[in-house]
């Protein structure tokens, strides 16, 4: 399901979320969005788009969520990666790397 209003290629947002959660530990939606923005260097991401992605991942049981309190004392939903999520992340990362290298090689050949 393509996420609307994102310049993020389909599927990559899921990968980013998983990776971020794997590295940073449990985060709320806002934290996740900020973090992804920072890491990707100002990707023009509508921050709201993160929520359908989170729902999708939770439905697949790759992440789980629970209520918690944010740094400045606001009730927020915290997301954490599950064991299944880590396995998926490993698989997707490998696939991504392969895809990228293939496309790169192709582009280099063409030029």
């Amino acid at each position: 399901m393509p996420t609307p209003d994102s310049e993020v290629p389909y599927g990559t947002l899921d990968l980013m979320v998983l990776k971020t959660l794997a590295v940073m530990g449990p985060l709320h939606g806002y934290g996740l969005a900020r973090r992804i923005e920072q890491v990707t260097g100002g990707l023009a991401l509508n921050q709201g788009t993160i929520y359908p992605a989170l729902l999708r991942l939770e439905q697949k049981a790759w992440i789980k969520s629970s209520w918690g309190t944010s740094d400045n004392n606001r009730r927020a939903r915290f997301y954490a990666i599950t064991a299944a999520g880590r396995r998926q992340l490993a698989a997707e990362a490998a696939l991504w790397a392969r895809t990228v290298s293939m496309v790169n090689r192709l582009l280099e050949d063409e030029s």
Partner: protein
């Protein structure tokens, strides 16, 4: 795996109503707050920061939509919404909805009622465990008659079988129960072999069932009591166990109580071991009266079992050539034995009627829908132009249809249950065994659901597909009215209406024929005051009344005692009261030949003295018969017999002989005709038979019917009769005690039920035709609105407008009538016993039917015609 997990999560959302929406709201709020805080921290004013946060977040509502579609099951929400919309729509158009629901309910209800009956008679079967593995064994003789199994054959057969868990036999026989401190009573009894209940069904609710030991010759006499008899006769007293009662005069110990509807195919109220059947071991190999069942052993197939029985039967034919040479076993499943197959031709009319009525009612609703479709066309066009997909439109229409059908189904089920109850109440309670119970079981409900779904297909899906093809531009530009009906569509509705009327005509013709053919009581029968005559059946046990002399003496004494009472006018006895049957006999004449075109069979009834006097009838001619001593070789004949056999000769003084139809030729014993009796039918549903009345004393059957004419209320008479019988013989029950009026009523239930059924169907068919006619006419008027408007603007009078509509209606009616008459002839040529074209020679019926159809048309066209004649031409033209 992952996909299943996602789906499961969505289902759980719906089922648990998980607060996903609230959670999302809260998350968004927190997110925006945090973002705003950050912007404020960067130095923005708060109001500006809030704006910036929203910008960075993106469209909240859009996000919510995406989120919503991704969770739960959107289809469920959408359908719920469609259902709500449909309900609103149907509520708004109440007249239409009510008519449609009623029409559907009638169709579905009649169908379900017929199915309930069909189910009980053919599909459900006996309530026993794995009935397909229980086989019924009977014998076929050389005349291809299906008979039971003799005890000797059963014993031989039972011992050598490998594929059966066991073979059991039973036979039904009424027994007399007494010696328990109450009036003797006659019960339906069954003599069953020891392990019968284990093999077939049958469950003791108290005590134990028979064991093989109870069924040994010389075993102590035991009995099981049915739960019904246990409750009525013994007040459900558990102390009955171990008590001794007299069964047919011999003591037997009650060892258990058996559930009445236990699955064993017998309506017995008391059960006895087969070995206690009097004279069992002396029965000849050719006395084939036992019903035999066997349950196939686990591991063996039904075919193996059947083959083994057939082989054994062939072997027995070799071993006992004089009795078994031409006899072969017949093995069928137990349900095949006790139930007709639904494919049997007897059910053809039933099934056809059930399908037709549903088809007609749903086609009617389809037409109603069409008549209303104009408004819908516009609505659909608007929705399509707003982006609704064709599937979406079809779904909406389908859901509307389903809502209608669901309402129709619920109402229809109610009608079906009421109808079945009415139907059952028209049948005497004891005419059907317990396994033919008209109950609404899961199969009936499944049929209801299937049929209702099928109606949706006919009346909603096809029209829905049609209207979803709507040409949006055309409809919206034309202000939404009249895509002129296609020729094809109009032809279909005409064909449909014609079929509907034709069916109504066929049914009406059947009613009128059945009313005409239905035999009215003969004049002499009408003269009988049936309410004052009480009848009771008596069976004189052959142990105490061994000879005809004993038996006729009993009745003479009984009659004398009764006649001495002031409240009794007259007493007599007969082998069977009117309408309760008569023996078939072959007649020969002394000194003359049978008239060439007359049959050689007559019916014979044996009567005691004062029979006709008790009925309140006088003899047509001759002297009363039989005399008190009653033993002369004299007979009476009825008028019909005289008509058939003595057209030219005076019958009185003539001698005839009557013999059993299949008896071997023997020297005739001549009897003399001494009088002529008025015609009384012994068989319901037949014309008067030629009847010979012989003296009861000369035949004195074991079972006979006592007839008592009362001077007072017959209800008080029952006790009197019982007391007087007890004074003569304390172990003698009188049973089937009812007035002659009840006898007549019960005897004619068959015809009455059939008539009721066909009358109901006819009323429904006529009602449906009226609705159908209305729907089609209303539709036509709506479609012709502009044309009518133009005609009126050009000066057409209301009368001419009405003619325009009525002409069409009359054409349809006429066509339907014509086709209906042809169908009636076809129908009668297949199912009627009379002339196929009888309807053509019955102007009164034809006229009545035609008049009824015109009335239907008048009622159906009333509203559409009124609407058409009151059209404002200006508006009609402009609106179109």
């Amino acid at each position: 795996m992952t996909r299943i997990r996602v789906w499961l999560s969505r289902v759980l959302d719906v089922m648990l109503r998980r607060g996903r929406e609230e959670r999302l709201d809260e998350e968004i709020r927190t997110h925006l707050d945090l973002l705003t805080d950050e912007y404020v921290a960067r130095g923005m004013p708060r109001a500006e920061a809030a704006h910036a946060a929203r910008r960075a977040f993106g469209g909240v509502d859009q996000l919510k939509v995406v989120h919503r579609e991704q969770r739960g099951l959107p289809i469920v929400d959408a359908v719920a919404q469609d259902v709500r919309f449909a309900l609103r729509l149907l509520r708004r158009d109440r007249g239409f909805s009510m008519t449609a629901i009623l029409v559907l309910a009638l169709g579905i209800g009649v169908n379900n009622m017929l199915f309930t009956i069909l189910n009980a008679h053919t599909l459900r079967g006996l309530p026993i465990d794995r009935p397909d593995r229980v086989l019924a064994v009977s014998t076929i003789d050389d005349r291809n008659q299906d008979r039971g199994v003799s005890y000797a054959d059963f014993s031989d057969l039972r011992d050598g079988l490998h594929t059966f868990m066991g073979l059991v036999a039973f036979t039904n026989a009424p027994v007399i129960v007494s010696g328990d401190g109450q009036a003797p009573a006659r019960f339906e009894g069954a003599f069953i072999s020891g392990d019968a209940f284990t093999i077939v069904g049958g469950r003791p609710v108290l005590g134990r069932a028979f064991s093989a030991n109870d069924d040994r010759a010389g075993a102590a006499a035991v009995a099981l009591i049915g739960s019904g008899a246990w409750q009525t006769r013994y007040g459900a007293d558990r102390g009955i166990l171990g008590r001794s009662v007299l069964v047919n005069g011999a003591p037997a110990t009650v060892i258990g109580v058996v559930a009445d509807r236990s699955g064993f195919p017998s309506t017995a109220e008391i059960w006895l071991p087969l070995s206690q059947l009097p004279g069992l071991s002396a029965q000849k190999r050719s006395d084939r009266s036992l019903v035999v069942f066997g349950r196939v052993r686990d591991g063996a197939t039904v075919d193996d079992a059947r083959a083994e029985i057939l082989a054994a039967s062939d072997r027995m034919a070799g071993d006992h050539p004089d009795t078994n040479k031409h006899v072969r076993a017949r093995v069928v499943s137990i349900n095949e034995r006790y139930f007709l197959s639904w494919t049997h031709p007897a059910w053809f009319a039933f099934i056809a009627a059930g399908c037709l009525v549903v088809l007609i009612s749903s086609a009617n609703v389809a037409n109603l829908m069409l008549a209303r479709a104009v408004a819908r066309t516009r609505e659909i066009a608007v929705r399509t132009s707003l982006g609704a997909s064709r599937l979406r439109i079809v779904r909406q229409l389908l859901i509307e249809g389903s809502v209608l059908a669901a309402c129709g189904a619920v109402l229809g089920l109610g009608l079906a249950i009421a109808g079945v109850r009415l139907f059952r109440s028209a049948i005497p309670a004891d005419a059907l065994p317990y396994w033919l119970e008209y109950s609404t079981d899961s199969r009936v409900i499944a049929a209801l659901v299937t049929v209702s779904a099928a109606t949706v297909f006919v009346f909603a899906l096809l029209p829905a597909i049609h209207s979803s093809k709507t040409d949006v531009n055309g409809v919206l530009k034309d202000e939404g009215v009249t895509i002129p009906a296609s020729r094809g569509g109009r032809r279909w509705t005409t064909a449909f209406l014609t079929a509907e009327f034709a069916l109504a005509v066929v049914l009406m013709a059947q009613v009128s024929l059945s009313l005409r053919v239905d035999r009215p009581p003969l004049p002499s029968e009408r003269a009988i005051d049936t309410r004052d005559v009480l009848t009771a059946t008596v069976t004189l046990p052959s142990e105490r009344y061994p000879t005809p002399q004993h038996r006729s003496d009993f009745y003479r004494h009984f009659a004398e005692r009764l006649r001495a009472r002031p409240d009794i006018a007259s007493v007599s006895v007969a082998s069977a009261p009117p309408l309760m049957g008569a023996a078939e006999r072959r007649i020969t004449f002394a000194g003359r030949t049978r008239p060439p075109d007359a049959q050689d069979t007559v019916r014979s009834v044996s009567i005691g003295p004062r029979y006709f006097e008790t009925l309140g009838l006088a003899l047509v001619r001759g002297r009363s018969f039989p005399d008190e001593d009653g033993n002369q070789p004299n007979v009476l004949v009825n008028e019909e017999l005289v008509r058939q056999f003595f057209a030219e000769v005076d019958p009185i003084g003539q001698r005839i002989a009557i013999t059993a139809p299949n008896a071997p030729a023997a020297p005739e014993s001549w009897v003399t005709i001494v009088g002529i009796a008025p015609d009384i039918r012994q068989r319901p549903g037949n014309d008067a038979d030629p009847i010979v009345y012989v003296s009861y004393a000369s035949t004195a059957s074991v079972t006979a019917t006592l007839l008592v004419r009362s001077r007072t209320d017959t209800s008080a008479l029952a006790t009197t009769l019982r007391d007087e019988a007890a004074a003569l013989d304390s172990n003698l029950p009188l049973y089937r005690m009812r007035t002659l009026a009840q006898v007549v009523r019960d005897a004619q239930w068959n015809g009455r039920v059939a008539r009721m059924l066909i009358l109901t169907l006819t009323i429904i068919a006529v009602g449906l035709s009226t609705v159908g006619m209305y729907a089609v006419t209303a539709h036509a008027v709506t479609q012709q609105t502009r044309e009518i408007g133009v005609r009126m603007a050009l000066g057409a009078r209301p009368r001419q407008v009405a003619q325009l509509i009525l002409r069409r209606a009359m054409f349809q009616i006429g066509l339907g009538f014509f086709v209906g008459v042809i169908c009636t002839i076809l129908w009668d040529s297949r199912f009627s016993t009379g002339r196929a074209d009888a309807i053509l020679f019955d102007p009164r019926s034809l006229f009545t039917i035609a008049a009824l159809m015109v009335a239907i048309a008048a009622i159906a066209c009333l509203i559409p015609v009124r609407r058409a004649t009151r059209l404002d031409p200006v508006q009609a033209i402009r609106r179109s």
